[in-house]
């Protein structure tokens, strides 16, 4: 009986720390609005560049590929600052008050939500300027949501690695982009099928694969991050 209560208390404390960490992420982001604004400007100007260079000459399959290429670079830039903006002292402080595993989970969840927002906005602007040839918009949006989830969970650990190494965005791109390639292949296939209006029965396999890779990535980050954190 007593064991049970202890476990419950432990779980409640862990959840409390976790939620506090998540709140902290959001508040920092909210106070430093310039970083959100920076990413949004990045996305909007990239979409605008594509609009200036591709408008009117864009076949639908290229439309899809171009969208995901924009997303790859936007997500690398959006998540690069995830660990870099924190000083050594601040990280040491978090290390004392929280479990590194809770810390990385809160980062992954925050980045996921953040990237989902960025990608949905990007999709909105993109279809506004370059047209929207998608036949099954609901399925395409699901692809965007799961795709940005997978991107966020891979890039969060990469961002931690890059920040421990030499803190450069270049290193982040070098380390991250090769690892995004398999995800990109799956997600482009999924969203191409959604664009062509294929049935769920054809496309479900790709989504399941994406979710499986995502779960695996989060589990790996959860296990590996504590080693990265130690000094």
């Amino acid at each position: 009986m007593r064991r049970k209560v202890d476990f419950f208390n432990h779980f409640r404390n862990a959840m409390k720390t976790f939620i506090a960490l998540l709140r902290k992420e959001m508040m920092i982001e909210w106070r430093h609005k310039n970083s959100i604004a920076g990413i949004l400007m990045y996305v909007i100007s990239t979409v605008f560049i594509s609009y200036m260079s591709f408008a009117g000459i864009l076949p639908s399959h290229t439309w899809n590929a171009l969208f995901w290429i924009i997303m790859v670079f936007a997500s690398v830039n959006a998540i690069a600052k995830s660990f870099m903006s924190e000083s050594r002292g601040l990280q040491l402080f978090y290390f004392i008050i929280a479990d590194p595993r809770q810390y990385i989970l809160s980062k992954i969840i925050f980045n996921t939500v953040f990237l989902m927002g960025v990608s949905l906005l990007c999709f909105l602007f993109y279809s506004l300027l370059l047209g929207n040839p998608v036949q099954n918009v609901g399925m395409y949006l699901i692809g965007i949501i799961f795709g940005s989830m997978a991107f966020a969970s891979v890039l969060t650990l990469i961002s931690a690695i890059a920040s421990r190494a030499n803190n450069s965005v270049t290193l982040m791109a070098v380390l991250g982009i090769p690892l995004l390639l398999p995800l990109l292949v799956i997600v482009i296939k999924f969203s191409k099928n959604a664009m062509d209006g294929l049935a769920w029965s054809v496309n479900l396999q790709n989504l399941m694969l994406l979710v499986a890779v995502n779960v695996m990535t989060i589990a790996l980050s959860y296990m590996l991050f504590p080693y990265l954190w130690k000094e």
Partner: protein, 220 residues
């Protein structure tokens, strides 16, 4: 001799596969013709590469559990030797592709997967070079190695099975049976794989020894 027999076996098997691979009878198939002999040289390169990358990951895991610099060194040199075999695999594959598929590079999931693997390990070496402190470098590199190896497995093991590929054994293409990897070919193919893996391990061991001597001389 007690500890070196495997090197002799490796060299012997490689020499045997060179001779038997070029001189033995092979099935006569359309398009492939005599290029089928490349199976003894192209495929073992990939097997050796995957084996060495596997060694590298295992030693990365050992490093994270024990924090020994020795295991980090093995992980590093296993990855380097694996990359060399990867280049050889890519090179032999490109020649083969030119004579059977008509172009040095075709868009195929296996080719893309192997190119991405090259990129990942190139990134691994960039990461190693960008950290000065040895202990820190070892730990960060180990984390990246494990993380990327698992993701790469998805790319080169899972994805090709779900898509069409020109390679045998993928997306409806029958496996080795199509090449009629008959018993005569097996007699050369399996020794070739074993021989190249042993040779690869020996290459790795030699590199590690050279590195150890270098660090010893520097510290003197």
């Amino acid at each position: 001799m007690k500890n070196h027999w495997w090197k002799v076996v490796g060299v012997f098997l490689v020499l045997y596969s060179l001779y038997a691979g070029l001189a033995n009878d092979v099935p006569r198939l359309a398009i492939l013709n005599e290029t089928i002999r490349n199976i003894y040289f192209h495929v073992p390169m990939w097997f050796t590469m995957m084996f060495l990358y596997g060694v590298s990951v295992v030693y990365s895991i050992i490093h994270l559990s024990k924090f020994e610099m020795k295991s980090d060194m093995v992980a590093d040199y296993a990855a380097r030797t694996g990359m060399a075999f990867g280049f050889l695999g890519l090179f032999t594959g490109m020649i083969w592709a030119q004579f059977t598929w008509g172009s040095f590079w075709v868009s195929d999931t296996k080719l893309n997967g192997s190119a991405a693997t090259m990129l990942v390990y190139a990134a691994y070496f960039v990461l190693r070079n960008s950290v000065e402190d040895e202990q820190k470098r070892a730990r960060i590199a180990a984390v990246y190695n494990i993380f990327s190896f698992v993701l790469m497995l998805v790319f080169i093991m899972v994805l090709p099975r779900l898509t069409d590929s020109l390679h045998p054994g993928n997306g409806g293409n029958p496996a080795f049976a199509a090449y009629d990897l008959d018993n005569n070919m097996r007699l050369v193919f399996y020794p070739a794989v074993t021989g190249w893996i042993l040779t690869g391990l020996w290459m790795m061991q030699l590199q590690i020894r050279i590195q150890k001597i270098k660090t010893y001389l520097e510290s003197k």
